[in-house]
Symmetry: C2
């Protein structure tokens, strides 16, 4: 057997392929769940216009879901099977972080989505180019940021106690997100190749992983600050 | 003042304009509510694929909402104001008809939407051409029909008792829909010009209205039959 100087297609390796399907699966179910939760949380909106704005964000998430679903089919994966292993963890996260009011739902849409996006984007560094491009595109902000920041800042300027309550809420969201991410990582060792890599493709090691978690926490702190909340 | 032989623009009449804004308002809030209810009912879906199919229908309804909203702005109306008078009636309908399981949600998506569409389409006969065209377009089937019919027929073929329960459910949906429609008609006398008309534009009279209600009930019976249910 001769070694060719060109990089081999990482998707030719069934383990790597499975890891990519896992990443797309967790992301796809995450987007579908985000769709449902945003649509559901919209009932807390104070005006029909706010309700429609949250619905528009939900619709954008569904568009992402459709693209991830299409990529899974392209790779010959069964989307239902690819998503199933992550249903319990993602539903668990949402069940434990059901917003009690409109402002909690805004903070969750912004901060919760931010944590998830940072994490998936970091993982995307280790997949094939086409998948990476798609992941980065679907994780682009769908308008949550400006909408949530404006409304939350205005509300806490008028009510300092609300700021204290939402700061606690943000900490809880981060804690639950990291707990569920660890649960997924522990249960799905098929994702391991993305972190350990191999001789002919990059992969994160444990030092790298610690760096990613540090960055997640730093980015979370910045997002909380932009809402006017202490992290 | 001279009478011109060309038809006057009905939208020049403020009463007629208000009636059109009302029709667009009830329809827009109806679509926004349909979006939220379909998204919410999707949690009853037995598989992720079914969940995604219901989400896709919800997204189509939101697209309709956006077009109706745009038409309201075009007519110089405030969408929030145009929708507000119908919030109680439409939320009331949905609160009273929350599906208990997946099959009730499918029958509601198909039968409930069908009744509403028939009613709005009948009213659209009395508005200006551009508004009518938009109303007919947004009321086109978004895929509810085939999806619901296939699944419900298969389920009742396997379980006769389910057919009896869903037949009752369909009757309740029709009853609640007509009750809420009467409530809206009674409270919003601004809609009256659409039914009574005027010297220079068509309008439905009471005989016509009775005919519309008859047609609604007949169409409902046909839809129930296509589900394999007695009306």
């Amino acid at each position: 057997m001769t070694e060719t100087p060109t990089a081999p297609d990482p998707l030719a390796d069934p383990d790597f392929r499975q890891a990519v399907a896992d990443l797309l699966g967790v992301l796809a179910y995450g987007e579908l769940t985000a769709f449902h939760r945003l649509a559901d949380d919209a009932r807390l909106a104070p005006t029909i216009t706010d309700k429609a704005a949250l619905a528009a964000m939900a619709v954008a998430e569904f568009g992402h879901f459709e693209r991830l679903n299409a990529r899974l089919l392209e790779l010959g994966a069964d989307p239902e099977e690819a998503m199933r292993p992550f249903v319990a963890a993602l539903d668990g996260f949402h069940d434990k972080t059901a917003p009690a009011d409109w402002f909690e739902s805004l903070v969750k849409a912004y901060v919760g989505d931010g944590i998830a996006s940072d994490f998936y984007r970091a993982m995307a560094d280790y997949v094939d180019v086409d998948t990476r491009r798609l992941v980065v595109e679907v994780l682009a902000d769908t308008g949550h940021a400006g909408f949530a920041v404006d409304r939350v800042r205005a509300a806490i300027a008028a009510d300092a106690k609300l700021g204290g309550r939402l700061a606690l809420w943000g900490r809880r969201l981060l804690g639950e997100a990291l707990a569920q991410a660890q649960r997924v990582a522990a249960e799905r060792d098929t994702l391991t190749p993305l972190f350990t890599g191999g001789p002919d493709r990059p992969g994160a090691d444990l030092v790298e992983l610690a760096r990613i978690f540090n960055q997640l926490t730093e980015a979370h702190t910045r997002r909380m600050a932009s809402l006017g909340l202490s992290a």
